[in-house]
Amino acid sequence: MLFYAFLGCIVGTLVGILPGIGPLAGISILLPVTFGLDATKAIIMLAGIYYGSQYGGSTTSILMRIPGEAASVMTCIDGYAMAQKGRAGAALSIAAVGSFVAGTFGVVMLTLVAPPLAGLALRFGPPEYTALLVLGLVLLAYMSSTSLVRTMLMAAVGLLLGCIGIDVMSGHFRYSFDIKELGDGIGIVPVAVGLFGLGEILSTPSATVTQKVVSPRLRELLPNASEWRLSALPIARGSVLGFFVGIVPGSAHIIASFLSYAVEKRVSRTPEAFGHGAVAGVAGPESANNSASTGAFVPMLALGLPTGPVTAVLMAALLIHGIPPGPQLVSEHPDVFWGFIASMYVGNLMLLALNLPLVGLFVSVLRIPYAYLYPLIVMFCIIGVYEVSHAIVDVWIMLIMGAVGYLLRKFDFDPAPLVLGLVIAPTFELSLRQSLVMSGGDWLIFFQRPIAVTLLALCAGLLVLAAVALLRKDWRGRLARAQASGEEA
């Protein structure tokens, strides 16, 4: 049993590290391997791949600015900035410890309160989801280290790209130029890998001063006291936030990581440090995506309902082994349920033990001369992106996005809001229109449901706060100018 948990964790870490191959592809590829095992071992191994990949995903993000999978996009920003300052080891350690704390917190919550919380997932219908995504859009404004206008511009481009594909409500192909593969829209992984990873690689040779490869000494691998202090609260907040967002159906762990980033930036006393290697910008999102991936098991185990593609494959794995997932899983197959839970406690420990000693090894990857390292990375990116859905279109999207990413970097645009726009747009559109189908076109539906109205009130509150802050800044500016001119006169 332990062996399979260990195997799953190792494969998961690898899957997370390899750019392009996300947990879904990893689990799908290994699903047939589990046919020979019994159900408990199979689910333990496959779940290990899933949460293990959330640990591994941070590695390439921090070292090379390549998101190993979509949920690590946020880690690219400050993690990579930390690496450039020679704090790669610290960033990796914090990511590993944060992931451990969040993963364990998630399992404890799963053990104690899964059934009551599962009801919450069911109450999250289309109107609630719409409201959550509106909150996401509002928080997008906090995302960037560059100007607000640039952030909004990038987000808008992302939202527009997200409109490509078959319109779920009417069946029309939109902006797909007769390419059937675009019917499901533009994939998040090829865009993220292209914009961040390839864009970074392309811009390296043209940099006039080749940045020296920092090979840190051992004691520099570990975070120092102040870095620990700065990351403690973000890890705690990320764990709680991630778990609750994770329960919600959809691509929750991606949204969880960016919500956490936005929250950290909002509450930080030094928001200007974000984007330039803020420790909280690594600790928060890394914790959030881990506890979100655990939270996603709540509806799956307690209700037998998948919240996303990964849990759908895990449920298929149970089904193949003759265990119909449903609300009675816990009472009818307690061995599977508790074996699974127990494996997650152990699995998280294993991942910590696996990842911390590897920090030194990973950091030394940076010692490989770029001339050898970068072609290898490009190759892995291409294979990984192709492997996800065996579509050459995805490789082209990645290459084009690489060129776009290069230009964005040259002109100092942050690509993160673009990726988030792309994540939000299709889900937002679908849930908005589903809500309106439910209400017969009545927009009041968003104000008649308690969860939706709470989330929308939160959005309104944030906007008011932002407006007040802007006005105050403006007023102070005027006052200062008035004083200045008064003194002149």
């Binding site: 779920v168 159906p249 037998g304 193949i320």
Partner: protein
């Protein structure tokens, strides 16, 4: 090109070359002894779907019989269109096959409806065998008062366009049977499309929709837990798993709909290869290993060989096309 088949294929050629076979001799041998390299079965849906969980155990049984690897390649996209189109345009040499479900019959009709060029039709495929056919069931959630279909029909008739049904997506396998039922009963309901069978069931259980059709296997856990109630079975006979649920026909509605899974070869595949594949798939479908795997996913093997499958498919396609036209342009 499939990496694995390429490697295996070149390895086979290399071995044969060493043994000093002439080119013509090798070709003659290849004709007799299909297959000489790995066979790829295209799964046009995301992993874990009905096509996937049927194709994988089938491939596992076929491999030792054909003495070649049988690889499942996932080419998901556009509700199964991408993979089907890929298989339709693959070289018809017996090395690229397709596994698909009931919705394969609808794509051409949908394209026509929207005035799009038709990418492929049913004629682009040679049916090999049907493997399973799960009758759909009509479900309501536990917050609805209806004890039987007549109560539901009466209530929907009293307040048209108020109750909502969820589906796996427009013209998808869960949408088509619901549309057929609504027409047969002369009812109007609102349609809540989602992006998959799982989300459709979630919407039903969360009471964001009140009714949905589903394959029995997918809903069995929820039926047994009492979260949803099956009011009608859409098979010709009652389902063995749910003997107490009456069929649509028993209740006076001429609606029949199955979530079936079948295998196909591209048009133009040589007859001897088709015959060989049919034989082997027939044997595999009877194998204990495959039956057990199907039992695990809550299915009985409902094998039909080419001739019967063709007849079934023709009749089924009429139902599907009918349903697509009934739904119309949205």
């Amino acid at each position: 090109m499939h990496r694995r088949s390429f490697v295996v294929g070149s390895a086979a050629v290399a071995v044969l070359g060493q043994e000093g076979w002439t080119r013509s001799g090798r070709q003659a041998w290849a004709q007799e002894a299909y297959p000489t390299r790995a066979i790829t079965i295209i799964n046009p849906f995301p992993p874990g779907g009905a096509a996937d969980v049927v194709a994988r155990p089938l491939a596992a049984v076929l491999e030792p019989a054909l003495k070649q690897p049988v690889v499942i390649e996932t080419k998901a996209g556009a509700a199964g269109q991408v993979g089907a189109q890929f298989a339709a345009s693959a070289k018809p040499d017996g090395y690229t096959l397709l596994v698909h479900i009931v919705s394969i019959s609808g794509f051409a009709e949908v394209d026509k409806l929207y005035g799009r060029p038709v990418k492929f039709t049913r004629d682009d495929f040679i049916p090999l065998a049907r493997l399973i056919a799960d009758p759909m069931v009509l479900l309501v959630n536990d917050q609805q008062p209806y004890k039987d279909l007549s109560q539901l029909v009466a209530d929907v008739r009293r307040r048209p366009n108020e109750l909502i049904y969820s589906s796996s997506g427009l013209h998808g396998a869960l949408h088509l049977p619901t549309a057929l039922f609504l027409r047969a009963a002369g009812l109007q309901m609102k349609h809540l499309p989602t992006n998959g069978g799982g989300p459709a069931l979630t919407a039903l259980i969360g009471n964001n929709a009140q009714m949905a059709c589903s394959a029995i296997a997918a809903a069995m856990g929820q039926i047994r837990a009492g979260k949803v109630r099956a009011l009608a079975c859409l098979g010709a006979q009652r389902a063995t798993a749910l003997p107490e649920v009456p069929t649509m026909k028993e209740q006076g509605y001429d609606v029949e709909f199955y979530l079936w899974v079948g295998t196909f070869a591209p048009k133009g595949t040589p007859e001897p290869i088709v015959v060989r594949l049919r034989e082997e798939i027939g044997k595999a479908a009877a194998a204990e290993e495959f039956r057990q795997a199907m039992k695990n996913i809550g299915q009985d093997v409902a094998y039909l060989d080419q001739a019967e499958f063709k007849a079934f498919w023709d009749a089924d396609a009429k139902r599907v096309e009918d349903a697509v036209r009934q739904i119309g342009k949205v």
